[in-house]
């Protein structure tokens, strides 16, 4: 029996009132609800306030470089596809520095759950515009105002994502439920989490989000209809849908990789003799 106590970590270095706390709790609750023991979970993160998350709960952790979360998670998952692999990062980390990896992880459909703490601003470096900042957002590095934001959900649907979802860190039950679904989805899953930054984003506050977010399924939504999903992913001004925007099941990268047919690579023996037959091909 897995309990919240199993996932309880040490003190955090986040600002009081940070949206990250809600995400941490929702993730812990989801892992407990799925009865996943911590040693079977690997959380990979990069750099940013969000990327500190795995240090604040108990699980296997590789906290690597800025933007490179998905490649590290991909390598680890292929080495041991019996692990539950969760990648965690922020909007700058995942949609800026790691944008290329985001596209290709979606395309490959590797079975990783990707949680993006999207607070529309850089926190760790103190308040610069991120790829998802609202247009015109004035910061020290964008005195002219931020350009058009990237829409991660539209990009994810276009790049072949099979589980494209959004939640809000102020709605922990919703977020936790969505994370559970994402982990259970076979293939790459994106959970973009709207998260206020209490220090550097005076606009997109808890109150701002609360006024706008609504469940995508109310009054009705067919997440298997790609064109409808695209349309819903575009909604932002005034009304922001949260929930599973798009869902599509297709074979995962692991299922299509012949090398993994005989079980996790990490469990296989190393035998130099297995290349003996190959040598004769060079005679």
């Amino acid at each position: 029996m897995v309990t919240l106590e199993d996932y309880k970590g040490g003190p955090t270095a986040w600002c009081p009132g940070c949206g990250n706390f809600g995400i941490l709790l929702a993730l812990q609750q989801a892992l407990v609800a799925l009865e996943l023991p911590p040693h079977q979970v690997l959380i990979v993160s990069g750099i940013g306030q969000a990327a500190k998350l795995p240090h604040y709960l108990k699980c296997n952790t590789l906290n690597g470089l800025h933007g490179r979360t998905l490649p590290v998670a991909t390598g680890a998952r292929l080495a041991n596809h019996e692990l539950t692999v969760i990648a965690v990062g922020g909007d700058g980390d995942g949609y800026g520095e790691g944008g290329n990896h985001f596209l290709h992880a979606l395309r490959r459909n590797i079975d990783i759950t990707y949680l993006v703490h999207n607070n529309q601003v850089y926190g760790l470096t103190k308040g610069q515009a991120s790829p998802t900042s609202d247009p015109g957002f004035v910061t020290k590095t964008t005195p002219q105002g931020a350009p058009t934001p990237l829409n991660p959900l539209s990009v994810a649907i276009a790049a072949g994502g099979g589980f494209v979802a959004r939640s809000f860190s102020g709605d922990i039950p919703h977020l936790s439920g969505l994370i559970q679904q994402a982990i259970q989805h076979r293939g790459f899953s994106l959970v973009d989490v709207l998260q206020p930054c209490v220090s550097f984003n005076p606009k997109n506050t808890f109150a701002w989000y609360r006024e706008r977010v609504h469940r995508v399924e109310e009054p009705g939504h067919d997440p298997t209809d790609k064109m409808v999903a695209f349309a819903r992913a575009q909604e932002w001004d005034g009304s922001i849908p949260i929930g599973v925007i798009y869902r599509h099941q297709r074979p995962t990268f692991e299922e299509e990789l012949p090398a993994l047919r005989d079980g996790a690579l990490v469990k296989r023996k190393l035998e130099p003799g297995h290349v003996a037959r190959l040598l004769s091909e060079f005679k």
Binding site: G10, P37, P38, H39, Q40, L42, V44, I47, K52, P54, H55, K58, C59, N60, T61, L62, N63, G64, L65, R68, L70, P71, V72, A73, T74, G75, A76, R77, L78, A79, N80, E82, L83, N100, H101, L103, H104, L257, P258, A259, L260, D262, L265, V266, K267, R268, K269, L270, E271, P272, G273, H274, V275, A276, L278, L279, F282, K283
Partner: protein, 567 residues
């Protein structure tokens, strides 16, 4: 030599002939020269056969198979006295033929024999063997193997085309090269490129994960491993870029498998940050850096040893690493397997520094002895059922090497980060802990230094001149020593297959060498710098080539005499 345009089948002709020679007991070395284009231009494939091991090319040609006119213009001056230029005079419409030209209507013979002018190349193979006095049956065997995947009809057509060429020169022209070749018996040796040998070494060592991005001259390593991945259980991933590739390798190695990447200098530039991540997280990774001349795109298909200082210092901050530079294809196999052991025993990155000359040249080697490949995984804790009490990934130990658990070990958590960390693997900024962690990691370098591969020494023990080289210049340097010796100069070669950390005995070996000459395929003398920085020994002379072309033994001998004339 076989010369022609890209797309004319230069490599196929050369490789089939090289295999015929290798299979009949000759030792073969074949180097390739090609441009960064798929069609046109000028390429050549140069095959050298000797009665003993050979690891260098020679510029003197006994037979030039010119598939285009350009090959005659460019290489006729390299044809040795008594050598022959074999070409299709009808097709090339040569107005003036060099006197030693043997014109064989390759295309017409192909059309007559198999109604396919594209098989002119195979006709040339037959003609080449005929003119060298060789047995056509050997060629038929090799063609059978080479085209087996294309079906019996293709094999038969090639055999007929080869016979047509052979028959034409043996019965109608009755011309022979000055040096006639005869089979040397069945040898059972392998004929392969450095890249193939290296990939086999990785596979033998149990590499289970490879991620890379295609880049000349490293690409065929990934291609070979990908072709064997399904049967051997190796995940080979063509990543979106080298940044991703190297991070994937770090992730896979952290998760407990042997993992590698292969690239060239430009791709390695992109891998550098993740190399540092492997360093600080103490993750064992193997990276092959197959050099080519730079900077930027440089000379993409050519030869250079310009990245030694780069790989020594790549990434911000300080962490231990080893750099191996195989001298031959045989070493590419054994040292790559060794690289995996080193990286796992010291839990740190190991770089295998290769280059175009090693990567793309074919050599005959005795079949690799798989019993020599030992799997040493150091402090890795096998996956078990019992939890590991008080496990800490970065535990401070006397030798700096921490027990390495595999994520998913029951009741055990493996935590690490690219930030400075405590023993458990959580972020710290504590000054004392930082110092201890730095000393822990850097201390591993001393262990690696203690077991650095000794230099290979060849030649006289009382030399007038000592040549110091590293990596793939071994073959040309070794033969240069023979040439110098034959010319009355007592020369010695000291050759490094491990440029970092340098073996401790190097200083003693070189301390009494007044005539020390460092030979490198770069412009600034990177090994000479390293030698001086590490041992205080300054070379008296330098031979450096940086035009993208390999030094031949004769080139080295000539340049050495010029160098010594200035002393």
């Amino acid at each position: 030599m076989v010369g022609g345009e890209a797309g004319q089948g230069v490599q196929t002709v050369g490789l089939v002939l090289a295999r015929v020679l290798a299979r009949s007991g000759w030792w073969v070395f074949a180097d390739q020269d090609y441009e960064s284009r798929i069609r046109g231009g000028h390429n050549f494939f140069r095959v050298r056969a000797r009665e003993g091991p050979v690891h260098a090319h020679s510029e003197a040609l006994d037979l030039l198979i010119a598939l285009d006119r350009n090959s005659i213009d460019l290489h006729q001056s390299e044809v040795a006295p008594g050598g022959i230029i074999l070409c299709d005079g009808e097709k090339l419409k040569l107005e003036q033929q060099p006197p030693n030209t043997l014109s064989v209507p390759l295309e017409r013979l192909a059309r007559e024999a198999v109604s396919n002018p594209l098989m002119a190349n195979t006709v040339a193979m037959g003609a080449a063997l005929g003119v060298s006095g060789y047995d056509i049956g050997l060629l038929e065997d090799v063609l059978e193997g080479h085209f087996a995947a294309s079906g019996t009809e293709v094999v038969q057509a090639n055999v007929q085309a080869a016979r047509a060429g052979y028959h034409y020169v043996t019965s109608e022209l009755k011309v022979r090269t000055r040096q006639q070749l005869t089979p040397r018996g069945k040898a059972g040796r392998l004929l392969l490129t450095g890249n193939e040998a290296l990939a086999l070494g990785a596979l033998a060592a149990g590499c289970r994960f490879m991620a890379s991005y295609p880049m000349t001259p490293s690409t065929s390593i990934m291609e070979y491993m990908a072709s064997k991945g399904p049967e051997l259980g190796v995940a080979v991933l063509h990543a979106e870029d080298e940044i991703s590739a190297m991070n994937m390798v770090v992730g896979a190695a952290f998760a407990g498998v042997r993992a590698m990447a292969a690239t060239s200098g430009g791709g390695f530039c992109l891998m550098v940050e993740a190399l540092g991540l492997a360093g600080i997280t103490e993750t064992p990774v193997v990276v092959v850096e197959a050099q080519r001349p730079g900077p930027a795109t440089g000379l993409p298909t050519r030869y250079g040893q310009e990245d030694l200082e780069f790989v020594l210092h790549a990434a911000q901050g300080e962490f231990p690493r080893a750099v191996l530079a195989p001298a031959t294809a045989e070493e590419a196999f054994y040292l790559t397997a060794h690289a995996f052991n080193l990286s796992e025993r010291y839990q740190t990155p190991v770089i295998v520094l290769s280059d175009h000359y090693l990567a793309s040249s074919y050599t005959t080697v005795e079949p690799f002895d798989l019993n020599q490949v030992k799997i040493e995984r150091g402090a890795l804790i096998p996956l078990g059922v019992d939890p590991l009490p008080d496990y800490r990934r970065h535990r401070l130990t006397p030798d700096g090497i921490s027990p390495r658990a595999i994520p998913s070990h029951p009741g055990t958590l493996v935590v690490t980060t690219g930030d400075e960390h405590d023993e458990e693997g959580h972020i710290t900024e504590d000054a004392g802990l930082r110092t201890r962690m730095m000393l822990k990691r850097l201390g591993k370098l001393e262990g690696m230094r203690g077991e650095a591969l000794p230099p290979q020494v060849y030649g006289t023990s009382r030399p007038q001149v000592t040549l110091l080289g590293w990596g793939s210049t071994y073959g040309p340097l070794r033969e240069a020593v023979d040439l110098l010796d034959a010319g009355g100069m007592a020369a010695r070669l000291v050759h490094l297959s491990q440029p970092w950390p340098l073996p401790a005995q190097l200083t003693g070996m070189l301390s009494d060498s007044e005539g020390l000459v460092v030979v490198e395929q770069n412009a600034t003398g990177q090994m000479a710098h390293l030698l001086r920085a590490e041992t205080g020994i300054a070379a008296r002379g330098h031979i450096r080539r940086f035009d993208g072309r390999p030094m031949s033994p004769a080139f080295i001998a000539t340049r050495l005499k010029e160098e010594m004339a200035r002393w």
